[in-house]
């Protein structure tokens, strides 16, 4: 914690106390939430007697079986397929060993590289915007009176809406003679051909994602802020810190771990984007809004290039594993530094 102008003695947050707040009943979920967001104290866990081990393993089994079928086996088979050439639409053909050819082909495929680039830009851009907007709205909403709760309920709507419907809705709104272009016209701007101009198409899919997922950041931040300890704020009040100083030196540092995790989780979700794009642009115009998900989908289930799709899948997966490890590492670091 950075010592703010509010005096080191006072700015020491009660965060540590908060971290070990142990709920007496499961009702105090807000405390639970934050207890895990902040550095966790040594866990006073209920530990099983050794005699009961087999029972607990039996508890685990159904899930392990389901996940083995739905995740482990398909991942393994993707891996195997990625080293084979196989066009599923040619009846009677079998996968042929191809070595690294599929990987080489994917990496040298202009469309694959563009898709990967688009996915990264899309992820970074939307998450940055969602974080800023979500945090801002969370601060604005933060008084707990009944009307802010009503506003929050309304702001939740986009997140719950079926993504395919969101895509259709924005297709209508961004239509050449649709509402958005009309509003641009009202303020004297030229209408935009959203689905014709590559750059605007990309911006459009990002805007839709931001529209849909800012509420998620808002919800998480609202909960995180509500669970902050009040002592540092009282201390800052006594020290006469300004509103900006309070935010900069108290709220932001205490929220930092949650912000980091939210950002990474959102990023992971954003790069999976499929349905809204499928409906909005289907990757077009040209490849302007092609993402890795839609690329793999098309390779596999439209062109039936199973080996190529599998190789692209594994390249994508490796990037995600790398990012997952980063999440865990950052999470540990964040909780240590607080």
């Amino acid at each position: 914690m950075r010592p703010g102008p509010c005096g080191p003695g006072h700015s020491e947050p009660g965060a540590h106390e908060c971290a070990c707040a142990r709920p007496v009943s499961p009702r105090s979920t807000a405390t639970i939430t934050m207890a895990t967001a902040l550095p966790s104290p040594r866990k006073r866990r209920f530990s099983a007697r050794l005699g009961e081990q087999p029972v607990f393993i039996a508890f685990l089994l159904p899930a392990i079986i389901v996940l083995a079928i739905s995740s482990l086996y398909p991942l393994g088979r993707t891996f195997w397929l990625s080293f084979h050439t196989w066009f599923m639409n040619q009846p009677g053909t079998e996968p042929q060993w191809a070595g690294l050819a599929n990987y080489r082909a994917a990496l040298s495929d202009e469309v694959f590289r563009t898709s990967a680039y688009h996915t990264a830009i899309f992820g970074l851009g939307t998450v940055a915007a969602e974080l800023v907007l979500g945090l801002g709205l969370a601060l604005a909403i933060m008084t707990g009176s009944w009307w802010t709760r009503v506003i929050r309920s309304i702001l939740l709507i986009p997140m719950i809406m079926t993504p395919v419907v969101v895509g259709v809705l924005w297709r209508i709104l961004l239509f050449d003679k649709g509402l958005v272009n009309y509003l641009l016209d009202l303020v004297g701007l030229d209408p935009i051909l959203w689905f014709v101009e590559p750059t605007w198409a990309f911006i459009a899919v990002m805007l839709v994602d931001i529209w849909q997922w800012t509420p998620f950041v808002l919800i998480v931040m609202t909960a995180a802020i509500a669970a902050l300890p009040s002592e540092p704020y009282r201390a800052a009040q006594i020290d006469g810190a300004s509103r900006w100083q309070v935010f900069r030196y108290i709220t932001l540092p205490m929220l930092w771990p949650v912000i980091l995790v939210t950002a990474l989780l959102r990023f992971m979700d954003a790069i999976k984007v499929f349905d809204t794009i499928y409906v909005l642009t289907n990757g077009g115009p040209g490849y302007a809004t092609e993402m890795l998900s839609s690329y793999i989908y098309k390779q596999g289930l439209r062109y039936f290039n199973i080996g190529g799709a599998a190789a692209a899948s594994w390249l994508f997966l490796l990037a995600v594993i790398f990012l997952s490890l980063l999440v865990i590492w950052a999470r540990r670091r964040a909780s240590r530094s607080l």
């Binding site: 007496v24 499961p26 007697r49 050794l50």
Partner: protein, 365 residues
């Protein structure tokens, strides 16, 4: 109704020894208190007896039967937890009945036992409430009731009073003592509060850092502590400790320290000349005399406790606490003369902390 024997029991968590080589016998119907500071191993000992923790080495016997293979539910014990551990989603009645239901007892027996326990504890009106609708004292009673309905061989109580406020704690202390006197069941009671240990128990076992220090009746422990830890743990305010040396004086052998001298008498007569010792004396054993022979000092602090008054005065370099009657006219700055009665002195080895008593050494030999 059961006896318990801990036979060379050790509990390790990885490399940390929570309990080391514990041998302890608890007789049938006895109220045994395990007491000590936090982390001393008393709760681990209780949990091992309950079957919630496994014994690393050694064996525990209940009524002569080894129990290490048995699950808690198979040991015929009942336990009251510090946090009460009431099931929040069940009414008081269901909380009381739960263990009996799990054991498949007939409904009418359950109802009858619940009714009886509730009556005994005066919680009949609370039976249909949920735990969160109860006060701390009421929850405590329900937790007790849950143990009572079981009619177990042994009651295990893990700091059952420590979540109550001071006044209620004293009241419940008396009630618990009456209750268990009536039930005549074996009770193992864990606490860090020496007052509870002193007032409620038939016998007390004092633990420190995983090692059993001394077992005995409360007064035995209070009057004949075997080491500095036990001597300092029991009693409030605690025993005063001062360094001294066995020397010859004009009046014969004496324990001489900085600013005081106490004649060497039984049971310490065996101490050799020149030996360095730590002497202990309880605040209520120090006498204040009008003048003459004794330790001359000045009162530096007066603490009226209500029922008594505690004076603090320097002896040598150390501040000594003296308990005196509440009506004492003495004030800060008054000069006083203190006497350490020779027969009230405890003598310890300063290196090991062990009590140096002729009779005990003889007994040991």
């Amino acid at each position: 109704m059961a006896s318990v024997l801990f036979d060379h029991v050790t509990k390790r968590y990885g490399k940390v020894e929570a309990v080391r080589d514990l041998t302890l016998e608890i007789a049938d119907g006895q109220f045994m208190t395990l007491v000590g500071p936090s982390g001393c191993g008393k709760s681990t000992t209780l949990n091992m007896l309950a079957g919630l923790e496994e014994v690393t080495e050694g064996e525990i016997y209940i009524d002569g039967q080894p129990v290490s293979g048995l699950l808690p539910g198979e040991r015929d014990i009942a336990m009251v937890f510090q946090s009460y551990a009431l099931y929040p989603h069940m009414s008081v009645r269901d909380n009381l009945a739960f263990a009996l239901k799990v054991r498949g007892m007939p409904k009418n027996v359950i109802a009858e036992r619940v009714q009886r326990a509730a009556k005994m504890l005066g919680i009949e009106e609370l039976l249909d409430r949920k735990p969160r609708q109860l006060s701390g004292g009421q929850r405590q009673r329900v937790a007790l009731g849950r143990a009572l309905v079981r009619e177990p061989r042994i009651f295990l109580l893990d700091e059952p009073l420590s979540n109550l406020d001071a006044k209620l704690r004293v009241q419940m202390r008396a009630e618990l003592k009456l209750l268990f006197d009536r039930l005549e069941t074996t009770v193992v009671y864990v606490t860090h509060d020496q007052a509870e240990a002193m007032t409620m128990s038939d016998r007390v076992a004092i633990f420190d850092r995983g090692v059993l220090q001394q077992v005995g009746t409360p007064l035995e422990l209070y009057n004949q502590p075997v080491n500095i830890f036990v001597a300092g743990f029991l009693g409030s305010p605690p025993m005063n400790f001062l360094d001294a040396q066995v020397s010859d004086t004009a009046r014969g052998a004496a324990l001489v320290g900085d600013g005081f001298s106490v004649p060497l008498t039984q049971p310490h007569a065996h101490l050799s000349r020149g030996q360095r010792v730590t002497i202990g004396i309880r605040p209520e054993d120090i006498e204040i005399v009008p003048g003459g022979d004794g330790i001359q000092t000045t009162i530096s602090l007066v603490e009226p406790m209500g029922s008594a008054t505690i004076l603090h005065a320097p002896v040598g370099g150390k501040l000594v606490a003296i308990e005196t009657e509440k009506t004492t006219p003495l004030r800060t700055g008054d000069s006083v003369t203190l006497i350490f009665p020779a027969d009230r002195i405890h003598v310890f080895d300063p290196a090991t902390g062990v009590a140096l008593r002729g009779d005990q050494q003889r007994a040991a030999a």
